[in-house]
Structures are given as structure tokens and as C-alpha cells.
């Protein structure tokens, strides 16, 4: 669902005029039942897959956050709130939360600002702008693993593009992926490179759809260039910005493949986000309870973000 349209309230097709109610004959009742059975049969496979592999695991994960288990012992041991208490007390968890926050803020904020700028640039009638659009979007379609490995080489301080770029301005390239001061920034850069094209294209498309008459009116009032952008384009795009922030937070909070291929969450925990921690605790340290508790925290954070979006969407004003 998007920022620009309200979700449909009634599901199904809107009937222009309801046919007059027919009396409920046995025949009609049978036809109703046939329809109901067909309906359930049609949705059953999809609903079953979603319940078994989305709802049930989310609920069961919550229960697992109260146990101590290594996936091998025959029975998990119930430990109550201990996993949460351990998390809150651990400095590593604080570092992970801080990393997640920094990563999300910079990656989402950075791609929003740059994406709006580039989207606006591409909306000017320049030659090659179609080519630029295609190339900007291409990274978004690549496997994150490929993006991560490509940037690993780009960041190589001796033979990578990073050395060339830093030498241009008379500096040495940092050891991006192997020092804890830089590793999170390496992840942020590679991730933003992949996402920027998506944000750009969404802004570009939205700019194409802006109502022309508002611009004509503003120009009659003497607004030009940057003023036009700041006072007309930017506010008109605010629903899009809002939508991109929310989906950006949700997808940044789930960034995984770039971290896996670029830094493995390290050195130490320096580029570990909450999402990576969920994986690491479960599948590298076999600490089910800690992983489940961290996953629950992640879930709650994203739930709050989604609810904020849902509320704001209900209030959103349509501009066209």
C-alpha cells in the first residue's frame, strides 16, 4: 500500500447498483455455499503458506525468546525474562542498537536527500537522462551479495578504486572493511549505492506526476528556480518522502547480504546491526533464546514504525 492512496476499505468489486435482493431460495443458498467453498479452495494454498511460514514463526519466535536452547538439546529450558535482561545489560547489545540506528538514519536520510536531488535533475529535459535513469536503477536489481563483493574490492586500500579516489584529493584510502572505525561506513556506502537508484526513480516518477497548474500559478506569482523547488515541489512530494522513509527504515533494518559479504558484522561488533545479530546468535552461536529476544526487539521497533505509517496514511491529504 502506498502513501498516496488509501487502502481499500471494502474488499471485492464495488458494485455500481446492487440488484434488488432476491428471496433466499434453497437454490440460492446452495449457490452461495458453492461460492464459499470455491473461495476457500482458491485462497487456501496461499493462506496456508502465509500462516505456516509467516504468522506461526513470528508467534513461536516470541515464545522462544523466553527459553535457553542450543537447537540440539532435546528440550528448551524456560528462563523467563532472562534473555531480555541479559540483552539490556550487555554493552554489545547497546553497540548493536547504536549501529542499527546510525546505519538506518544515515542510509535512509542520505538516500532521501540525494535521491530527491538526482530525481529532480533527471526530471530536467537533459540528453542522456533516460540512460542515467536506467543505470541508476540497475544496482537496485542486483543481488545484494554481488553488490557487497563488488564494494569489497572497491574498498581495497591498495588495488581498489577507493585508493584512486582518495589519492585524487591527496589522502590515503582508509582500511574500510578491516578497521572498526570505518566498517559500518563501508556498509552504509555500499547499501546506499544500491538503494539510491530506487529512491531516485520513485521521486522522478512522482515529480512527473505533479500538477502543472500549481507551477503555472506559482510562476505567475514570480517564483523561480530554487524557490519553486523549495516551496512547491518539496511540499508536494511530502507524501512520497514519508512513504520512502518508512519503507527505507523497514528495508534498512533488514539489510543482510551486504553485511554478510562485506564485513561479516565485524571487526568485533563494529558493523553488526540488530538484524545481523539475530542471525549470528542463532546460526553461529546457536543461542536460540538470545536470537529470539533480539528478533522480538527488532519486530517491536518495526511494528511501531509501521503503525506510525498506518496512522499517518489515514490522515494523508490527496493532492490530485
Amino acid at each position: 500500500m502506498s502513501a498516496l492512496t488509501k487502502p481499500p476499505i471494502a474488499v471485492g468489486r464495488s458494485k455500481a447498483a446492487k440488484p434488488p435482493q432476491r428471496p433466499v431460495t434453497p437454490e440460492r443458498r446452495r449457490s452461495n455455499r458453492r461460492e464459499a467453498i470455491l473461495f476457500l479452495a482458491l485462497i487456501l494454498p496461499n493462506v496456508a503458506a502465509i500462516v505456516v511460514f509467516s504468522y506461526y514463526p513470528t508467534a513461536y519466535n516470541f515464545i522462544l525468546s523466553f527459553v535457553d536452547w542450543d537447537l540440539v538439546a532435546p528440550f528448551p529450558e524456560w528462563v523467563g525474562l532472562e534473555n531480555y535482561q541479559d540483552l539490556l545489560a550487555s554493552p554489545r547489545f547497546a553497540e548493536v542498537l547504536l549501529n542499527t540506528l546510525l546505519f538506518t538514519l544515515v542510509a535512509v536520510g542520505g538516500t532521501l536527500v540525494l535521491g530527491l536531488g538526482v530525481g529532480q535533475l533527471l526530471a530536467q529535459r537533459l540528453k542522456f537522462s533516460g540512460f542515467a535513469r536506467t543505470m541508476a536503477f540497475a544496482p537496485h536489481m542486483l543481488p545484494g551479495a554481488a553488490v557487497g563483493v563488488l564494494w569489497l574490492f572497491m574498498f581495497d586500500p591498495t588495488y581498489g578504486l577507493s585508493r584512486w579516489l582518495f589519492n585524487l584529493i591527496g589522502l590515503d584510502s582508509p582500511n574500510w572493511t578491516t578497521t572498526s572505525d570505518w566498517s559500518l561506513w563501508a556498509v552504509i556506502i555500499a547499501y546506499s549505492w544500491q538503494r539510491l537508484g530506487f529512491v531516485t526513480i520513485i521521486y522522478y516518477t512522482a515529480i512527473q506526476d505533479l500538477p502543472q497548474d500549481v507551477y503555472e500559478a506559482a510562476e505567475l506569482d514570480g517564483a523561480r528556480g530554487p524557490k519553486l523547488f523549495w516551496y512547491i515541489t518539496r511540499p508536494l512530494l511530502s507524501p512520497v518522502t514519508f512513504f520512502l522513509s518508512v519503507t527505507g527504515i523497514i528495508s534498512a533494518a533488514q539489510a543482510f547480504d551486504i553485511i554478510a559479504t562485506l564485513t561479516d558484522g565485524g571487526p568485533g561488533s563494529s558493523s553488526t546491526t540488530l538484524n545481523w545479530m539475530v542471525y549470528e546468535e542463532a546460526f553461529k552461536k546457536f543461542d536460540v533464546g538470545t536470537s529470539a529476544a533480539a528478533a522480538t526487539v527488532l519486530f517491536l521497533i518495526l511494528l511501531v514504525v509501521t503503525l506510525i505509517q498506518a496512522r499517518a496514511q489515514g490522515r494523508q491529504v490527496h493532492y490530485s
Binding site: 452461495n32 494454498p45 514463526p57 513470528t58 563483493v149 563488488l150 536460540v288
Partner: protein, 311 residues
């Protein structure tokens, strides 16, 4: 809205407007330029410089990827950088293929992507049709249940899905790779959105001719929703091919890995000692999707933008 504003005559014709390329996905309204052509030459120059910078940011890494994959070792390990390979060296690909079973990776990626996409889109079509055309009293709550699953972050389900798949005996099998991902709320929603606007008279006419639901779906509704189904299929297909975390945890032997996982293992195996073969491996993982993207980019970009902006 002034939809019929003509572009100023001095303006070059729009290179491509997403609207006219996939009928029915977005309203086929001619896009009106909302920016006057800038006549200030200095500003024009600045704009082109900015455009060149933007293109460089996106193209340079990709050029770096492809050129490095084809460079001989001594040209990769040299500084100042060798921008253009003097000889094109296919040896890197052979080397990558020797260090990791890329033939298996390709087969596994193709199998999981093909069957995963086919199953997911089939389920999506069936349930979208049910929600759009079949009478049922508790439609709305069921619909919300399905859409609500979009809010569940994938990583929260990883651990339990791993346990479930383990109980089913599906670890390190195609069933384990494919089946947990076939439930579809996103593609269902996309297709449902287009089914809702299929003109009722057409469906009714088929009804009067005596066509039952399944027949109406197959021969009337589906052909009319082809554009959206195709877009949904492409988007789902990219998701399957690029999928990383689930294949990572559910597979345990090299012969079951998909390409992205295989690439990660190639990287660990070669360390920093052989960028040429690692970049060749990366090309093998990325190129198929890049080709599909360049071939179908109008539909993909348009579909994703329309999905985001018009819901």
C-alpha cells in the same frame, strides 16, 4: 488538472515516459513537463556536469566489476590503476569455476527461481481472483490477514522456519529452499489491484455464456490482467534470484548452494588473493539479472514505481 498541456516546442521529446509502455499498469495519461526548458547556458552546463557525476557514480563501479573480471592478474594488482585491460582474459572465469562448483550454483538458482516464482505467482493469481470475483462473507478480514503478513519482518521468522523445515526433513533440499517462500501477499495485492478494475460487463457476459469461475478466470480475467501479472512475475523473480539469507541457512553443502551463497563462499575461499576470479564470480551472479533488467527495464521500473506510488 491540465493534462493536455503540450510540451514546449523547443523541448526535446520525452525520451521515455513510463506511462505509455505498459498499458493498464498506470493511467495512460500523457505526462506533462512541469519544468520549463532552461535557457540559461551556464545552468545547463552545471546540470550536465551534475548528470555526468551521477552517471559516473552508478556506472564506474559496474565498469570496474566487468573490466576487473576480464583483466590479467598483473593488471589487477597494479597501481596506478589499469583502467582498460590490454588483453581480455577469460582465465578468471575458469579459475572461479575451478574453485567453486558454479555449474551447481547456476542449476540450483535456476531451479529455485523458476519453481519458486511459478508457485508464488500461481498462488497469488488464485487468491487475487477469489478476492476480486468470488462471493464470500468474511472476505475483508481474510484479506487483512494476508496483507498484514507484509508487516512481519522476514528475519523474525528465520529461526522458527529453520526448525519447521528441519522437522519436515527438508533441510538442504529444493523443497526447503523453495516452499517457505511461496506464500504471497505482495504479488497477490498487485494482481488483485488490476483484477478489481476489469470491466464487470465483460465478466458478466462470460457468465451468461455459461462459463464457470475457473473458466472465466482463465479465458477472460487473466488475459486482461497480463501486464500486471508479467510485472509481478518479474519483481518476484528478481527477489528469488537475489535471495540470500534463507538459502544461506537452509543449505549446508556446496552442491545445494544458490549463486549468491556460492559467491560468498568463493570470496572466503579466495580471500583477498585473487580479485580477478572473485570479480568473475560476481559477474556470473549479477549478469543474468542485469540482462533481464536491461531487456525489461521499462516494465520493471514502471511496475515498481507504480506499485510504490499508486499502491
Amino acid at each position: 488538472m491540465s493534462l493536455d498541456v503540450k510540451p514546449p516546442v523547443t523541448a526535446p521529446a520525452p525520451t521515455s515516459s513510463t506511462a505509455d509502455l505498459f498499458d493498464g499498469v498506470v493511467d495512460a495519461v500523457p505526462r506533462s513537463p512541469n519544468r520549463k526548458v532552461v535557457h540559461n547556458p551556464a545552468l545547463r552546463v552545471l546540470q550536465y556536469l551534475a548528470l555526468a557525476l551521477v552517471v559516473a557514480v552508478f556506472v564506474l563501479p559496474l565498469y570496474w566489476l566487468f573490466s576487473s573480471a576480464l583483466k590479467a592478474e598483473n593488471e589487477i594488482y597494479s597501481y596506478p590503476l589499469q583502467w582498460i585491460p590490454t588483453v581480455l582474459e577469460p582465465e578468471n572465469f575458469a579459475e572461479a569455476w575451478r574453485s567453486a562448483p558454479f555449474d551447481r550454483f547456476f542449476i540450483n538458482s535456476i531451479i529455485t527461481t523458476f519453481f519458486g516464482t511459478t508457485l508464488e505467482i500461481s498462488l497469488a493469481i488464485l487468491s487475487a481472483y477469489a478476492f476480486a470475483f468470488v462471493r464470500f462473507r468474511f472476505k475483508t478480514p481474510l484479506f487483512l490477514v494476508m496483507i498484514g503478513s507484509l508487516m512481519l519482518p522476514g528475519h523474525v521468522t528465520l529461526l522458527v522456519n529453520y526448525i519447521t523445515v528441519g522437522h519436515l526433513g527438508w533441510l538442504n533440499t529444493y523443497a526447503g529452499l523453495i516452499l517457505p517462500g511461496i506464500g504471497s501477499a505482495f504479488a497477490m495485492f498487485l494482481i488483485y489491484q488490476q483484477m478489481r478494475v476489469v470491466p464487470e460487463e465483460i465478466v458478466d457476459a462470460a457468465k451468461i455464456d455459461g462459463a464457470a469461475h475457473l473458466r472465466r478466470m482463465w479465458s477472460v480475467v487473466l488475459p486482461m490482467c497480463r501486464p500486471m501479472i508479467l510485472t509481478g512475475t518479474l519483481i518476484v523473480m528478481f527477489g528469488k534470484w537475489n535471495d540470500f539469507v534463507w538459502p544461506l541457512i537452509v543449505t549446508s553443502t556446496a552442491d545445494m548452494r544458490t549463486l549468491p551463497i556460492g559467491l560468498m563462499f568463493l570470496r572466503s575461499q579466495e580471500g583477498y588473493s585473487n580479485w580477478g576470479s572473485i570479480m568473475a564470480g560476481t559477474v556470473m551472479v549479477a549478469l543474468p539479472m542485469l540482462l533481464v533488467f536491461f531487456f525489461a527495464q521499462k516494465r520493471i521500473i514502471g511496475g515498481i514505481a507504480a506499485g510504490a506510488l499508486k499502491g
